[in-house]
Structures are given as structure tokens and as C-alpha cells.
């Protein structure tokens, strides 16, 4: 369970293989992975490493990826 940062991807957006590949590519700390179907999954163990760069938010359609600070 992350303690500081939770990353959420809208289920419909997560199923988009192209978007999933893009998220994997842009994240500098490997928070995203593609499963066997090519869909995007969040790597829970890496969420606290999020550097708040917002690259995933910019890579996805508005509101489809959310980065939540659990300490606020």
C-alpha cells in the first residue's frame, strides 16, 4: 500500500494499449506496466517513488490519470 502517493488510471483509459504504452514510456520511476493484454496497470510498490512530474497526466486525456497526494 502506498503511503504518500496514489496513482489512478480510469479503467477505460487503462484498457487503451497505446495509452498504456505511452504511460510506461513517460514515467521516470516505473509506476506503470502493461499486462499480458497490453492494458495499463499501476505498480503499487513504485507509487511512493512518484516525483510529481505530471508527465502521465499530460500524456493522457484530461482527467484519465490522477495523482493523489495522500499527505494532503
Amino acid at each position: 500500500m502506498p503511503m504518500f502517493i496514489r496513482v489512478e488510471v480510469d479503467p477505460v483509459a487503462a484498457a487503451d494499449n497505446d495509452l498504456a504504452a505511452k504511460l510506461v514510456e513517460v514515467c521516470p520511476v516505473n509506476i506503470f506496466e502493461q499486462d499480458v493484454s497490453g492494458a495499463c496497470t499501476v505498480v503499487e510498490a513504485n507509487e511512493d517513488e512518484c516525483v510529481l512530474c505530471d508527465l502521465c497526466i499530460e500524456a493522457a486525456p484530461a482527467g484519465q490519470v490522477r495523482v493523489i497526494k495522500l499527505y494532503e
Binding site: M3, F4, V51
Partner: protein, 401 residues
């Protein structure tokens, strides 16, 4: 990286510094052969990376080759500071007329190298400086420009040395300074530099330390000397705690969170940034604290690294609290370190507000970092709190708990 005495003497001899005749013995039979070749009385010295050899019985004298063989056999089996010697240095025993000290190191305040000379050699230079300051002279010089011999001449002449002694000591001192600059050393020391009964000079003992970062530049020299790239050359073998610290730093490639050195105090330290570790460690001691460890954080380590380092420090027996203090950071992020440290404390089974006596890391992303600390009730300071003041508060809070 520290050199064994025999290596330091080989390097100095190569630069033209006179050293005693003799050789390196790996067996008692070697020692007997070298003593025979030297002829006359010899001194045998344990080759360990540690001071206090004389007191520990690692230095012996022998009048005959047979005595040298027996002395070498004893020395080779004698552990000093938990180290067995790699060999025994066998050298001609000299009749000494006068002992001097010559050293070159870095002057952190002047931010330049400094050459130090004393006409009271053979004893600890710090002791001489404290008790006989009029017998110690210093001169700073540039690390960028070629060393000028006149600087050494001025230094030595300032203690009233003249004539042939001045000429010879200047030559030896200049060669020592050249060696210091040429090989990326952090310390080059001859103590004693002895004038023998016949008037000649010889480096009876010496100590050379090479900057770790210079090892790659000096790899040809080190290979020529038979020094393996993997040799750590620390003054003692790493403790289990220190080995685990090195493992923490290897968990990923991001930043540094390691370089752990174990001490026997009760205040765990998670410290670093731009030389901050040394300053903070000293400040903790100056304010009456007893550090349990030294370490370095920098270069924006991952949350995982900061977390693992924190858990390691908290796992040390006798450590009840930790202080997290760094210099003002620019490339290391305050919030990332805060996340790692808080996570480490919680994963170790403790409350951050109880275990972290003080957190002082000002700089990049400090606003986010402070929000995390506030959420977990950790007392923190910004850049208006100096590193020394942060150390003082940490020591005071530990004492009050």
C-alpha cells in the same frame, strides 16, 4: 585510499625522496635474506593500515639476520587493529642526529593545499602544534599552478633552518609536494624525516593517502604497484552494519544513500549534502551528542534508498532516535527524502514523531516535504535553522527523552 608504508616509500623513492635501504618480506626467510643484504642492525615493521604499530608490538629491532628472521615470524602473526600484516618491511636501522616533520595536505579553510614543516619530528604533529606551536610552520600553495620550490624554502627557512640542511630539506619537501599534486593525494607525510649521523637525510616513516576519486586517473600507477581496483584499503575491515550500508546504496542507481561508518553512540544520523555530513557529524559531537553512525545522502536518492538507510540506522543496537539533517539541497528533493525517512521509521515499527528527533533539510521541494512531516508530527526546521542549531536541538531532545 591509504598506502601501506612500503608502497608509500616506493612511490616517494621513485620521486627522488631518500628512503632507507631494505626490502619487503613476506616470510621470515625473506626477512633474514634482506637483513643479510642490508648488513648490520635492522628495523622490522608490520605492514598494516593502522597506526600504533610500535605500541602493539608491530615494530621490532634486530642486530643479526637470525634475530630478524625470528622477529619477522612474530610480527607476521600479530594482529593489529584486527588486521594481520600483509608483509614486514625490513630496513637498515639508522643512527639519528635530528628528526623533522614534513607534510602536505588540504587546508579546508583556505581551500588550498598546505605544506607543514616542523623541526620536532617523530611525534604526532597535532601534539607538536598544540604544545610547541613555534616549532611548526605552514604555507598554503595553489593546487592549479605548478609547485614552486621557493615556497618550500620559505617554509623551512621560517623555522631558522639554513645552509646545507635548508637546501636538502627544500628538495625533499618540494618532491613531496610534487608527489601530492601529481598523484591526487589527500595526505603526504614524512614523519620522521631524519638527518642521520653522517648528515644525510632519509624518510624513516611516511604516510600517503590517495583521493578515492583519483584512483581511476591513477590506475596505471596502481596497476604498476600491484594494487587491485577492488581493494578498499580502509583502515579496518567494514563492520556488518557498514556492509549492509553499502548494500543499501546499491539497491538502485538513483543518488547516494550510504557510505555508512559505524560509531558507538546512541543518536542515529541520516545526514548529507554538499559536505554536510562531516559538518553535521562534528556539530552533533560539539553539542555533546554521540553519533551512532556517519552516512551520506545526496544526488536525489530514491524513496526506497532513504527508507532502507533509515531502517538500517534504526536497527543498530543502542540507537533510540534519529536526526535527519542536511545542508540546503538543490538536486536532492526534500519531499523524496522525507517520504523515505518517514516510511523507514514506520516500516521499522515506530512512530515518526517519536523516533525522528529533528528533521532539517531545506531546499528543493521543501514545501511538499514539510507537508509530509506535519502529517506525521515530525519536528522540522527550514533554512533559518542552521545545521549546527539543528544538531543542538537533536542532541537536546535526545537527552530529554
Amino acid at each position: 585510499m591509504r598506502f601501506y608504508e612500503f608502497e608509500a616509500k616506493q612511490l616517494l623513492a621513485k620521486q627522488g625522496v631518500p628512503t632507507p635501504s631494505g626490502g619487503v618480506a613476506e616470510t621470515p626467510a625473506d626477512a633474514e635474506r634482506i637483513a643479510t643484504e642490508v648488513g648490520g642492525a635492522v628495523v622490522l615493521k608490520s605492514q598494516v593500515l593502522s597506526g600504533g604499530r610500535m605500541k602493539a608490538g608491530g615494530v621490532k629491532f634486530a642486530d643479526t639476520p637470525a634475530e630478524a628472521k625470528a622477529a619477522a615470524a612474530e610480527i607476521l602473526q600479530l594482529e593489529i587493529s584486527d588486521q594481520l600484516p600483509v608483509s614486514v618491511l625490513v630496513e637498515a636501522k639508522a643512527g639519528i642526529k635530528q628528526e623533522y616533520y614534513l607534510g602536505v595536505t588540504y587546508d579546508a579553510i583556505a581551500k588550498q593545499p598546505v605544506a607543514i614543516f616542523s623541526d620536532m619530528g617523530g611525534i604526532d604533529i597535532e601534539e607538536v602544534a598544540e604544545q610547541h606551536p613555534d616549532h611548526v610552520a605552514k604555507r598554503n600553495f595553489s593546487a592549479l599552478l605548478p609547485f614552486s620550490d621557493y615556497k618550500m624554502k620559505e617554509l623551512i627557512a621560517s623555522l631558522g633552518i639554513g645552509g646545507r640542511e635548508l637546501t636538502t630539506l627544500t628538495r625533499i619537501g618540494s618532491r613531496l609536494a610534487h608527489t601530492f599534486l601529481k598523484y591526487g593525494l589527500t595526505l603526504a607525510e614524512i614523519n620522521p624525516l631524519s638527518q642521520l649521523d653522517d648528515g644525510s637525510f632519509v624518510a624513516l616513516d611516511c604516510h600517503l593517502d590517495m583521493e578515492d576519486e583519483a584512483r581511476d586517473l591513477q590506475k596505471d600507477l596502481l596497476a604498476e604497484m600491484g594494487i587491485d581496483a577492488d581493494e578498499t584499503r580502509q583502515g579496518r575491515p567494514p563492520t556488518d552494519f557498514e556492509r549492509r550500508g553499502a548494500q543499501v546504496d546499491q539497491v538502485d542507481a538513483r543518488g547516494v544513500a550510504g557510505r555508512v561508518v559505524e560509531f558507538d553512540g546512541d543518536l542515529g544520523l541520516v545526514i548529507g549534502a554538499g559536505g554536510g555530513s562531516l559538518t553535521i557529524f562534528d556539530a552533533v559531537q560539539r553539542h555533546g551528542g554521540n553519533p551512532a553512525n556517519y552516512c551520506e545522502i545526496g544526488g536525489n536518492p530514491s524513496v526506497l534508498k532513504a527508507c532502507e538507510l533509515t531502517k538500517l540506522v534504526l536497527s543498530k543496537p543502542g540507537v533510540d532516535k534519529i536526526a535527519v539533517i542536511m545542508n540546503v539541497v538543490s538536486n536532492t528533493r526534500v519531499d523524496i527524502v522525507a517520504r523515505g525517512v518517514v516510511k523507514g521509521v514506520i516500516e521499522a515499527g515506530f512512530e515518526p514523531s517519536d523516533k525522528i528527533v529533528f528533521f532539517r533539510i531545506p531546499g528543493a521541494w521543501e514545501g511538499e516535504g514539510f507537508k509530509i512531516l506535519e502529517k506525521y508530527g515530525v519536528e522540522y526546521g527550514d533554512r533559518t535553522v542552521s545545521m549546527s542549531e539543528a544538531a543542538r536541538r537533536a542532541v537536546e531532545k535526545l537527552g530529554a527523552s
